[in-house]
Subunit: 262 residues, 2 copies
């Protein structure tokens, strides 16, 4: 089984209009997956892009539920609005996959995961595992979450993948990004790291000054590398450009262009 | 806690255009609930109406997944299309509830329930229970389901409610219909049954000739009465007209017009 993460910036321009969606890019990703399905099985997880992030910020979801009833209810409404925005992104994914005749099936992240300070505390994978057995392609997404510590929080696609990798031991995890992989420095400036051993991640994190938090509500490359370090215990990890046709296929085959963590 | 079932025929005309939705009716239901929230807590479950049923029929979802790959994949696609249609109905519900400032939160039925021949075999209510604690209004819906016997099947809103009632012991379950309640005979011909003891249900089922299956994919009044019999072990049950403003409030207060099962 292969887990494919489609980063928000791959299918959507976070700085563009609300809920903009690059259908052609997602369709091309679906087409690459269809070349390997059903010989290989897949789980797809996508991020928020221009869908989830504006609402999550506007309502301050990450701050949790306060005591004050009025603020709490404002945030409850925001929680539900953020989920609905993510469902709209997800519906577009399902649509593009179905066009390629792939039985992608929407699994609502917030219906199956509970977090504690944004990290998975509990996740019921019964349905996901059975969907895989029945040859569906479960599609999950970064979403809001019921949180044991704060009442509510955000669960990022990357966190979901770390949990899925630990529980389901996939053959491979492929992160699709809008750059060619992981850079030793700023993308476009530093050089692309084509191969990275798991125990070299810490020193790269230091060179990238990954001590502070990332740039969006769910974190950027620093968070991704932190998660990749955990995932690499269970699975091969690839970071490839999701906007360039063929790169995903290369990662699935194992001879592709991007960053491979072994 | 009160469970409100909104029948498909209350918010949608099954014989009308695909995916027709009576927003005003749902908004009026939300407005009635808002008079009791947050003093009382609620779970809402809605049916398919003109959303789920056409797809479920077209693809023959209830027949399960066959051996033959081509037919199986056609049905897999239908499974995902049916769920997406139900999510569109659900999104309209959430929208109307949010307009009334109610924090209704979508829980994907197919993400948390597994059936065996269409009856709940497994349901993870962890998220639903925590949502209730946090004062959300979980909104579930009749949906497709992974099925232990047939691979895939349909899980009706009524079945979900029976399971929720058994597990969560609500104070009351209110079924909203497009008629005034349960009739001793054909609606409009027989007389309305205003009060029905649980042990009188069997003889009513006989008089209604409820031996064959119902009229839609998830069954009509016969199925409802069968489920009501089970639910009445745990909770008071009401059947009231969801299209007449005030009837839901009457059932919640306990002095309303409709059928009460005690």
């Amino acid at each position: 089984m292969i887990i494919v993460k489609v980063g928000g910036s791959v299918f959507s321009d976070k700085k563009g209009k609300p809920e903009n969606f690059e259908g052609a890019t997602v369709r091309s990703i679906a087409r690459e997956i269809s070349k390997f399905y059903p010989r290989k099985s897949f789980i797809v997880v996508h991020g928020g892009g221009s869908f989830g992030h504006p609402e999550a910020k506007k309502y301050g979801i990450r701050e949790g539920l306060p005591e004050d009833w009025k603020t709490a209810n404002f945030r409850r409404i925001g929680f539900t609005e953020t989920h609905q925005a993510m469902l709209r992104a997800n519906a577009r994914f399902i649509e593009e996959f179905v066009r390629e005749n792939l039985p992608a099936f929407s699994v609502s992240t917030s219906s199956v995961f509970i977090t504690e300070n944004g990290e998975v505390a509990y996740g019921d994978l019964e349905v996901v595992e059975r969907l895989l057995e029945l040859r569906f392609i479960p599609v999950l997404f970064g979403d809001v979450s019921v949180d044991l510590a704060k009442g509510i929080d955000i669960l990022s696609g990357d966190q979901i993948i770390t949990y899925l990798a630990k529980m389901l031991e996939p053959e491979k995890v492929v992160f699709l990004m809008d750059v060619d992989g992981v850079y030793d420095g700023k993308p476009g400036e530093g050089s692309l790291v084509q191969s990275l051993a798991r125990d070299e991640i810490d020193s790269l994190l230091e060179r990238l000054r990954c001590t502070a938090s990332g740039t969006d509500v769910t974190g950027g490359i620093c968070n991704k590398l932190e998660e990749a370090k955990k995932i690499a215990e269970h699975s091969e990890v690839w970071f490839v450009n999701g906007k360039v046709p063929g790169r995903l296929s290369g990662a699935i085959r194992g001879d592709g262009f991007g960053t491979r963590i072994v």
